[in-house]
Symmetry: C2
Subunit: 140 residues, 2 copies
């Protein structure tokens, strides 16, 4: 926790017009700390023993998603991962690469493929998500 980060968190909450509560600050700081998407469980672990209840974490994350602060992605089986959406275009987040051997995930900033084209008239694309599976340098 450093002061510049705290300021960021305050600004994020202000801009999103969300009340500044302890759990929300804790959760946002946890997300600011890392460069990869986290699950509810990982966030709780990162915050430590005075972490908010898991229900509160889920609800806060949902608030953040509604406010556009956070993106939600499926990376591994049956678990949501959350990450800050700052620096993502609204229509397309960066791709995620997950190693099928060690499970590590990497964000591929600036490597988004072009948006799918050629859809019939009437289709409106709100979001494109790209997920990659394979082996990371350690495991290949």
């Amino acid at each position: 926790m450093n002061s510049s980060k705290l300021k960021d968190v305050d600004e994020l909450l202000d801009d999103a017009k969300l009340r500044k509560t302890a759990p929300r600050v804790q959760i946002l700081k946890a997300l600011l700390d890392v460069a990869v998407p986290l699950t509810q469980e990982q966030i709780a672990e990162k915050i430590g023993k005075n972490s908010p209840d898991k229900v509160t974490i889920y609800r806060s994350l949902e608030n953040f998603v509604e406010a556009g602060l956070v993106h939600k992605a499926y990376l591994q089986e049956r678990v949501w991962h959350y990450e800050l959406s700052h620096h993502c275009s609204s229509i397309q987040c960066h791709p995620h690469f997950t190693c099928t051997n060690c499970g590590a995930t990497r964000c591929l900033w600036g490597k988004s493929p072009a948006l799918v084209e050629g859809l019939e008239k009437g289709y409106v694309i709100h979001r494109q998500q790209v997920r990659l599976e394979g082996l990371c340098p350690k495991c290949s």
Copy 2:
């Protein structure tokens, strides 16, 4: 159920070196019948009242995935969807478009974006998945 389809199913199972059992034939026929990915529940519904147990459906689908006959995709929240993989490249299935209003899903055959490039040395891509959300012509 028509004979050409039955023949297809037989061939698929033979080629995959899987035993020809009633549940597997029923499930493969259900998948051959449609052009969109189905959930376990939708498959059971499609087969009707003499559908195999849901455990059997899951296990058969898993067998098919291992054999490369079927692809698995997350389209909606927390539910796996399964579809035949015939005519998919092994590294990249076609993208899927899901309407956030009516929930309908469409397969975008032949509209795959280029594979993500520029990964650091050592990364090996086994699979790229693309998911689109937005509005379909009926809902836009």
